[in-house]
């Protein structure tokens, strides 16, 4: 997977890296959900009765399984994987919106999360939503007046700003929410598929803003199932499959490996795809996050050994 000089592909903007901003240590998220899937083999009498009464079996879904990594200031980290690979769950845990089953997430400040939800207040105009959002982020009305032009410029949705947000296309809504969230230059910005829709000009504006955040010692996470987006916008990528980390490395390499695997899977070459998955997994070097506190000069906890 070497890069040929003549068709230099678009890559994420590189900025110098700094101190760790997010530390994810042996993180697992397991859900207990009911499943109507019929189990093959032996089924207990109690379970058969329960199923006849309409209760479904409770199964454990490993949405995220033993994931460890450290993100640094200046990094733009893409998280790729198929639908249901646990990438959105991982992002929501980093945002603090969901509690992990085991493991922990440490961060320098509360991450700003940009999810896939539609309009904020659908009845209100985009302009009123901007004001309300900025106030929710803790700005005073005076600061809001100062920030609004910047948000408008970044969102770039023109006169639509005065229309109710429920009339927006999903792309327009996503751009507006990105513009509000990014106006603060948050230290840690988490984006869930929000920028996948959008024209070239707006993509460039948002990428410039993300680079600016990273230059000011920020970290950006971007979740997408499109390898292309990750390759263009990120410097590093993590490939998740069924909750497990497959690869963690430069965005270009990880995205290419992921795309090659996904292409084979789509063509029905399941055996080859599984082989590629195993190859990628073999390349991955497990990360051990080792917490230290120099102020007390002792280790916070014992070495966490990878399984």
């Amino acid at each position: 997977m070497s890069e040929s000089p003549d068709d230099a592909p678009k890559k994420g903007i590189e900025v110098p890296l700094g101190e760790p901003t997010v530390s994810v240590r042996r993180l697992s998220v397991h859900y207990r959900v009911s499943s109507s899937e019929v189990e093959r083999g032996w089924v207990s009498r109690r379970e058969r009765l329960a199923r006849r009464l309409g209760w479904n079996r409770i199964v454990t879904v490993r949405a995220v399984n033993d994931v460890s990594f450290v993100a640094r200031a200046g990094e733009s980290i893409g998280i790729v994987g198929h639908n249901g690979s646990g990438k959105s769950t991982l992002l929501r845990v980093i945002a603090g919106l969901e509690t992990p089953t085991t493991g922990d997430v440490l961060a320098t400040s509360t991450p700003t999360f940009l999810g896939v939800n539609a309009a904020l207040m659908p009845e209100l105009s985009g302009m009123e939503n901007i004001r309300l959002g900025l106030l929710a982020m803790g700005h005073t009305p005076r600061e809001v007046r100062k920030i609004v032009p910047d948000v408008l410029q970044l969102a770039g949705i023109g006169d639509a700003i005065h229309r109710p947000m429920k009339t927006y296309s999903s792309g327009m809504g996503a751009r507006l929410r990105f513009a509000i969230a990014a106006s603060d230059r948050p230290e840690i910005l988490l984006i869930d598929e929000a920028l996948a829709t959008g024209d070239v000009a707006s993509k460039e504006r948002s990428e410039a803003r993300m680079a600016e955040i990273r230059r000011q010692a920020g970290t950006v996470f971007l979740v997408s199932h499109a390898a292309q987006t990750i390759e263009e916008m990120c410097t590093r990528a993590i490939w998740l499959h069924q909750g497990e980390m497959i690869l963690d490395g430069p965005a270009y390499e990880v995205a290419r490996a992921y795309r090659w695997w996904a292409w084979n899977l789509a063509k029905g070459e399941v055996a080859k795809a599984n082989g590629l998955l195993e190859d990628a997994r073999a390349q991955l070097r497990a990360t051990v996050v080792h917490p230290e506190d120099p102020t007390t000069d002792r280790h916070i906890s014992r070495h966490a050994h990878p399984s």
């Binding site: 603090g96 919106l97 961060a107 939800n117 106030l135 005073t140 051990v288 080792h290 230290e292």
Partner: protein, 293 residues
């Protein structure tokens, strides 16, 4: 201090992380810093309550009229059923005024209960999009309900003055804002409780309709409860009901021009202090839950 990745020949990558600069995500702040954050969001609470009041009135033809129109229609219904058909008015001085005060004042508390239960679901878009102390959402609701109660109160006073037998303005009317304030404080606590309970157990939203109806019949909205309840212990228990205290005090002040019983004031006062205090702490305890799907 943290250093760049240290690679061993074939072993795992060891990342040394200086944790003195990092803290766990999604933890609820201490009560003190929570209150400070909430104070920092006062402009947001104000803006959110206005935005929702505006959005809520949009889909009806008559809009804001329903703020006053609904209690008038409720009152007319209860008047026909309880006043005319069941003859509950027997022995009640100025039954029409009695009923109007009951219906108008009780719905303020009933709305705090049902509105609080729906608050977190109604605000979920904003909760998922931004980081802020979640108590802003129920507090904005209380603020909106309290402000929209003002025109309702003016209508109520106009009605008891205009409809025969006319109530007379007395010096006791000056104490009426105090009851309203105590009721608003009690409602604040109630909304906070309902907001957390219903966000944890969504089924409660269905049950609360029954609770509020049961509560209404137990608060003497359309009849005087001492006429129907003769058991002294049960009567004493029913008189601890804060909604009952609000209605009794309001009727004494506005209709009958007399000083309400001190027990009623003290009971209501206790509810108005304890409920918001405990409700706030209860809500704050659940702070980590509200953003979840």
């Amino acid at each position: 201090m943290s250093e760049p990745r240290r690679r061993f020949s074939d072993g795992p990558v060891v990342e040394r992380v200086d944790v003195s600069r990092l803290s766990p995500v999604g933890r609820r702040p201490s009560l003190g810093s929570y209150i400070a954050q909430l104070w920092g969001r006062r402009h947001f609470i104000w803006a959110d309550s206005r935005a929702r009041a505006f959005a809520g009135n949009r889909d009806t033809l008559l809009g804001r009229f329903w703020l006053v129109g609904k209690p008038i229609l409720d009152g007319a219904t209860y008047f026909l059923i309880f006043g005319v058909m069941l003859n509950a008015s027997r022995g009640v001085e100025n039954y029409v005024g009695f009923l109007i005060i009951g219906v108008f004042m009780f719905q303020f508390t009933a709305k705090a209960l049902t509105g609080g239960a729906g608050a977190m679901a109604a605000g979920k878009n904003i909760i998922r999009a931004f980081t802020f102390p979640r108590a802003s959402i129920p507090l904005a609701l209380v603020l909106r309900e309290t402000i929209s109660m003002l025109p309702v109160l003016v209508t109520m006073l106009a009605m008891i003055l205009l409809i025969p037998p006319h109530a007379q303005v007395s010096i006791y009317w000056l104490l009426f804002p105090v009851v309203f304030l105590l009721q608003a404080l009690f409602n604040t606590g109630l909304t906070l409780y309902a907001a957390r309970l219903a966000s944890a157990i969504p089924d409660l939203r269905l049950v609360l309709g029954f609770v509020s109806r049961f509560w209404m019949y137990g608060s003497g909205v359309m009849y005087s409860i001492d006429r129907f309840v003769s058991h002294p212990t049960l009567l004493a228990a029913m008189q601890l009901n804060p909604a009952y205290c609000v209605l009794e005090i309001s009727r004494d002040l506005l209709l009958y021009a007399r000083m309400p019983d001190m027990t009623l004031w003290l009971t209501l006062g206790a509810w108005a202090v304890i409920t918001p205090l405990f409700g706030f702490i209860y809500f704050w305890h659940g702070e980590e839950e509200y953003g979840r799907e």
